[in-house]
Every structure is written in structure tokens, then in C-alpha cells.
């Protein structure tokens, strides 16, 4: 019995020592179970709902670079002004006034980064947009929303998913049918997956998982 007690005490001590060490390293508590990020204050409270829901503007209209490169990008102020210089009805509202203050001073708006991955992770938007929007022809809001949540209900963006590696892998680990039963390939472009070859099932469907090569994202 004493042996057990000593054992347990040692174990507790080790765990608490480790936990307290890790806790000090964290700046804030772990996110809650629904992976919701904190509310982030932006210099201008940009209403996504007004633009994406009411106006029905496509995400990629502003976040143009998502189909071009690594980052989707916050649009240059020119994009906002392009429309708003012609919209008299909201010209004197507080947020638009603030926008034009920045524009007249030619000062860039210092937005706060909401979806900020650590520097050792390199996520590439272009490949995901190419695959899901242009190849699988899914609606843009559904594709963007899969990772960024229902942005059309928000004003400023708030992180909706954990963005941790495990969460990314949960999608990459799903088996996708790339060739349907009967030999019909899904989509028009070839599928290529690093490391894991597509598996051929009994009925002729070919399924594959997403890239799980470390260097796909950590290079």
C-alpha cells in the first residue's frame, strides 16, 4: 500500500509540475469546447453581414488573393473606396467616415489578424480554393465557411474553428471518392496526393486522403 501511495504521489507531482509549467507558457486559457476564438477588436468594425449577406458579395471579390497565393489577404483600401466613393447614402455614417479618414491620409488600416497561424505553419489558400471552388464547384460561402465559419452572420471576423494541426488533419484524413463506382472520375483535374496512394475499393471506386506529408505545410 505504501508503495502505491508513494507511486501516486510521485505521479501527481510530476503531472502538476508539468501542467503548471505548461500553464505558465500559455498566455490565455485553452479555448472552449466549441473552438470559438476570442472577440477581436478591429480599428473599424467591418460588417461582413452587410456585405456578404445583405449585398451578397462573393468572398473572393475582396479576398482576391485566396485564388492566387498563400494568403487570402485583406483587400487594399482601394477596394473599399472603389464602391463607397459612389454610395452617398452611407457616406456620413461613423464607420465610413473613419474609412475615408484613413484614405485621405493615405494611411493603411492596421487590422488585427484573426486567423493567425504560427510562423512554422504555411497554409496555402490557393490550393484549397482551386480544389473546392473551381474543381468541385462548391458554393464559395460553403468553402470559405468550412474553416472560417458563417462569416455572413458576423460583423468583424471571429475565429470559429480551432485551426490546430489535428483539426486540419481531420479533414485531410477523410477519404474522398476521387473516382466514383463505375469509373467516373470526380472533377476534371487529376488528383494527386502526397505519400498515400489512392486506394482502390472493391466496387471500383478510388478513394484518397489529403496530403499528409509534413513538408506540405512545414517547409
Amino acid at each position: 500500500m505504501y508503495r502505491f501511495i508513494r507511486f501516486a504521489i510521485l505521479l501527481m507531482g510530476l503531472i502538476s509540475a508539468n501542467s503548471s509549467f505548461a500553464a505558465d507558457a500559455q498566455l490565455e486559457p485553452l479555448t472552449t469546447a466549441d473552438d470559438l476564438g476570442p472577440v477581436v477588436e478591429q480599428p473599424i468594425e467591418f460588417p461582413h453581414n452587410r456585405h456578404a449577406k445583405d449585398m451578397g458579395i462573393n468572398c473572393i471579390y475582396c479576398h482576391t488573393y485566396s485564388r492566387r497565393g498563400n494568403v487570402a489577404g485583406i483587400p487594399p483600401m482601394q477596394k473599399c473606396i472603389g464602391c463607397h466613393q459612389n454610395i452617398e447614402s452611407v457616406r456620413e455614417t461613423p464607420r465610413i467616415k473613419k474609412l475615408f479618414e484613413y484614405w485621405d491620409a493615405k494611411k493603411a488600416i492596421p487590422w488585427k489578424k484573426v486567423h493567425d497561424l504560427p510562423d512554422f505553419v504555411r497554409f496555402n489558400h490557393e490550393r484549397h480554393i482551386k480544389r473546392f471552388v473551381f474543381q468541385q464547384n462548391r458554393p464559395v460561402q460553403e468553402v470559405c465557411g468550412a474553416c472560417h465559419g458563417d462569416v455572413k452572420e458576423m460583423t468583424v471576423a471571429r475565429r470559429q474553428k480551432s485551426l490546430a494541426m489535428g483539426w486540419c488533419m481531420s479533414c485531410h484524413e477523410k477519404e474522398h471518392v476521387v473516382v466514383a463506382a463505375g469509373g467516373t472520375p470526380i472533377g476534371t483535374a487529376a488528383y494527386w496526393y502526397a505519400m498515400k496512394k489512392p486506394a482502390v475499393k472493391a466496387d471500383g471506386t478510388v478513394v484518397a486522403k489529403g496530403p499528409n506529408d509534413c513538408s506540405s505545410c512545414h517547409y
Binding site: F7, M77, Q78, A108, K112, K113, P118, R159
Partner: protein
Amino acid sequence: MMDNNFDRRDFLKVLGWGGAAVALTGCGNTSVQDGKETVVSYVEAAAYVAPGISTYFNSTCAQCEAGCSISGRVREGRVLKLEGNADSVINRGKMCGLGQAGVQHHYNPDRVREPLLRNGDKGETITWEKAYELIAQKLDGVSGDNFDFMTGTISGHLKVLLSNYMDSLASKNHFVYEAISPAVQRAANLKSYGVAMPRFHINKAKVVLSFGADFLGAWVSPVHFSQQYAQFRKGNDGQRGVLVQVESKMTLTGANADRWLVVKPGTEGVLALGVINALGVAGLSLPASVAAMVKPYDKERVSQETGVSTEHLVKLAALLKERSPSLVLLGSAAEGYAHGSQNAAAINLLNQVLGNVGKTIEAAESVPFPQIAPSLGSSAALRMVGNRLADGQTKVLFTYGVNPVFTAPKDSNFAAHMAKASFKVAFAHYLDETALQADLVLPLDSALEDWGTHVAEYQPDGVQISIQQPLMEKLHANTRGMGDVLLTLIKKTRAAEYAEFEDYYAYVRTALLQNKRQFADAGVDDDVFWNDLLSAGLVNVAGTSNKLVANLASEIRLPASEGVDAKFPLRLIPSVTANLRDGRHANQPWLQESPDPLTTIVWDSWVEIHPKKAAELGIVEGDIVEVESKSGSVKAQAYLFNGIHPDAVSIPLGRGHDAMGRYAKGFGVNPFPMLDRIFDDETGELAMHETRVRITKTSTRVIVVKDEGAAGGNQHGKKIAMSMASDAVDLSGEA
């Protein structure tokens, strides 16, 4: 645990559970940061700009005089990385370490950002308007004879503007200074070949005999020659090229040689004449005058004077006779003596005797626009400026691209003489030693922010005019391009003539457009031509071809073997390393960090001593030794090195700054001041290898910081790389 019953299994269990606990607590979103960093979008971006996607712009490297063309990768408006421009015949897409460090010249935290006016010991920030006013005021009433402009090597349209500016002040005193330059060679080449810098076709030679020319490191155009060297090694007609290096201290090129011959410092010319004699003995036909001249240089005498064995001498002659064409190169080591010109003449004679002229040595083409051809620097310029300052002839001194206070021998008293000028302006990127002596420091755009054209001295094919264009917007609002500064200055006196040029960019553009016909097809639109030119980053034009002459030297006077100076028994070899050169880039930490190829030492200077000499003097690696000449002394760590003549020691040039920023100041020692003021008899160039020194041990010893590890790079005695006597090697089976 006190209880002995605690056994291994429990220990492992605890370890396992504890480990899991750590892992579990380490999971989760501890590294995704919400709302901490800012992402600043553009205000207005050009259509082709996309974050994360790079655009490439071509320009010209300004880190040395080779003038390689570069391609800069620019992302989000910032230049991030430089690579070579594939279209350049000089560097063909390649680049050296010095070039890579160009970004550090640009982003250097110690760049001068504002015009500074001296107030006692301090520099006070003033506006550019005030600075120009002050210059106009100080030049007022000063005759052109009393105005001196000291620059480094200069070419292209900046040179044109500068000469026009000098003209506008009725001054002929533009001095071009380079602390390290092949000036002796240029003069000797003119005499022997009729051109100052011929083309050397290393890739066409079967044997290269280099008298200290470090063509893989820092000689003339290293990136170009390195590529030629690769072809040379691949071989002509299936025969791999053989490199023989003759020098008193091993250079990077020497380390690559098949045969490295150490010579007594200064006796390179004697060896060259000895080789000619041996060639004659081996049966090569020599012109009568030459045969008579080399008759006294028989192999015994030459061997005794140079230290090269008769066996090697004969072998070398045999090799040169058998494999033709060959190429004999001449480096700064051979030039650096009072008889440097004679050494050069002897070495050039060897090329002529071997029939290399016209085969591996050819004339370069003349630049079709001589006004943009490079003005080449020499150390004689330093003497001229120094003398004029000392005599009080110089009232106003402008400096650009030179640091004479750092590179001048102490006995020249340059800094003291400089103080005599009533007004000194330094056009500078950093507060280096010379800028600190100035009355007014004007901050310049970096090489990656400025416009310009460049014509390099060494032109391997045609004549390449390299374009320099900004790779990004200015980092600091108050720097100016040198061209813009000169344009503003010249507009003060010649306003009408230059009124049409809003800035230097307009000046260069107009000048190049005026000569459009020579660069492009007739009828091409101006804007199309200009955009294509900028896109390419260079233009190659045919120059007027030249012929080489065959001037055999009629008389070569080499000094007899000198006795040993008892007070200063050793010779000092100030070495030129590829990454430091004359010290202009010591504030680029990548270059300080790059280990010296031979000693692998970083961030510090050293004194290379042959192990035999070190044993004699009781010196071990790390001992701080004092190296003293008549003119000065330095203290540095000793490094034992087999690749040096036992009667010589070597200290690298380029370190030992006491200004020029946090990465340069205080690292290493500067051997420039301790060089004796001995000059080449013919050209007046500073004979940098003539300095004699003595070494004394101090009581300090340090650990040498080097990459090769404590055991050292010396493989002697470790039976790692075995060597055999050359006559015991049977290469008949080799392909």
C-alpha cells in the same frame, strides 16, 4: 525513493505517465494567436501585386567592381533576396557571397538617414536644402584648382554627370582611389600587350599557372572566372586542366590548385624568368633577346632565390611546354613590391614566350561610349590627394565610395592632412572612418534603391552596359541617390543645360533613349524600348575590337636576393579575402559570419604563421601576438597554417574598423595603417607586400573562434589524406 522496493518497472511507469501528462498539457491552441499581430493591407496596390507572390526586378550588384547583374526578388514591396541575372555575360545567373550580402548593405540598421552637419564632435541633423546652401556657400570663391573630388571606381552615367560637375567648377581634380587594385598589372599589360585589361580565357587553357591571382576569390571578376574554371576542369579535348599556383601565402584559388608552390615573397618575377630559362633548356624556341635576358636565371640560381626546388621548376616547364595553350596569371601578391612592375613584366613575358597571346589572352573590345567607360582606381590617387591636402592645395574635399582614413598607411597621416581642408563633404551610406572626419555627411540611397548604369572593367564578351534600378521604395525618406545629388549640384551653375531633367532617372532615361538605335532595332517605340531595357537589366553592345601587340620586354630588372633585416625578420602579407576585401563591407554580418575559406575563422582577425616558425618562436594557436612594422603594429590571435612561407606572416585586410556601425566596429584589427610606405618604382602604387615585421608573444592566449573545430583543419600526421611522391603515381590508366 528511500525504499529499496522501488524497482525499475515502477520507475518506467512513472516516466511514461509523467511523459504523457506533459504531452497532454502541451496540446491545444497554445500557439494560434488571436488578434495579437496586425495585418496591414495596402492603401493602393498595383494590379500585379499579390501578397505572398514575388516579382523579380533586374539590377546591378554594387558590392565590388566586377559589375555582375542581379535579379532581386521583391515581395510586398520589399526586396528579400538577390540572385544573378541569367542574361549577363559576366556572371551568367550566378552570384557570390558578397553579392548575396547586398541586402544587408541595404537594410543595414546603421545607415545614415539624415544630412549631418558637424558641430564640435557631434553631427547635427539639417535639411537637404540647408546642406545644398552650405555647399554653395563654401564653394563660393574657391577656385577649381582647390577643389578635389575623391571617388572609387566609377562608370556609366554617374561618371558623365560627375565629370560635367567637375567641369562646371573648372576643376580637374577628380581622383579615383581603390585601396586594392591591379594598377601595376594594368600598366604592365599596356606595355606588354597594348591593353590594360585583356580577356583571360581560363576555359580555353590546358594549364593555368597563377602567380598569386586569386581568381576564384577576389581577383578582378571572380564569379565569371569561377565558371570558366569549371569548364577548364572539365577539360578541352578530354584533357582536364591543370592549375599550378605560385604564391607566398595560400589563397582560395591556391587551395584548389593541383600543385601549390610556395615562393619566397617578392621572387615571383625571378621564378617566371627561371621558367622561361627552363623552357629554353627543354627545347622551346625563344627569341634571341629573351634567351639572352634569361640566361643568368638558371635553375640552381632560381631555386636558391625563390625556394622552389629545381625538380619542380623543371616539371613546371615541362608541363607548360607539353600542354598548350596555357595561361599565366598575375595577382596582387606579385604586384605588391617596389619591383612589382618588373615582376609583372617577367610574368607577361612568360605568356608571350608560351604563345598564349591571341589564344588564351585576347584583347577586350573598347567601350563604344568612352565617356561611360569605367574610371579605374589606384592607390597612387591616395598619395596625390594626401599630398595636395598636406600642401594646403585642397580647400574643399568631397568623398564618395572611398574610405581613405581606414585604408591609408599611418605614415601618410591622411586624417591629419584631411583636417587641413576647410570644408569636407562625405557622400556616404554609413558613418565610416572617413565620414567621421567630414564636416558634412550626406546620406545616400542604397544600391538597391538607386538608378544608374554601369560598365565593368572586365568585359568577357562584347560590352555590357548594366542597368541599376531601384528594387523597392526608399527605406529612409531623407536619403538621396548620388545621381540626384550631383544633378541638383550641377543645376546650381548650369541650370539651363540640365533644366529638362527633373531627376537622375530622367537623365539616364533620356541619355539611353538618345542612343536607342545602337541598342535596339530601328523604329522601336521609346516606351517599349525603355521597359524592355529595364526588364532585361542590361544591354550588350559590340565594341570596337582591338589587337594585342607583342611587346617583348627588353630589360627586366629584378632585385638581387636581399639579406634578412635583423630588426624585422619576417615579411607581412596583408591578405585580400573574398568576403572582406578592403573592408567596405565589414558591417554586413553575413560576411563577418562567413568563415575564411582557409582558416575558417569568423568575426575576428588572425596572424597566420607557419608551424615551423611558430615552433621557433614558441607560439601556439590562440596566442595573442604583436606584429610590429616600422610604421605601426597590431595585436591578433595566432593561427598556425602550413600554407604560408615560413618567413612570412599574414593578416587579413578588411577588419579592425573603429566606426561604420555595430557589425564592423571593434571586430578584428586593421593592418592597413602598419604598411610601410614603399612604392612600386614604375607606377608609384603602394607596394603592399613590402612591409617587414617582427612578432612578439604577449602574455594572453585566447580560444580561436573558427568553424573547423578544435582539432583543426590540418590533416598532417592524421593519415586521412595520403599523399604520394608524384613520380610514384601511375596515371596512365586514368581517363
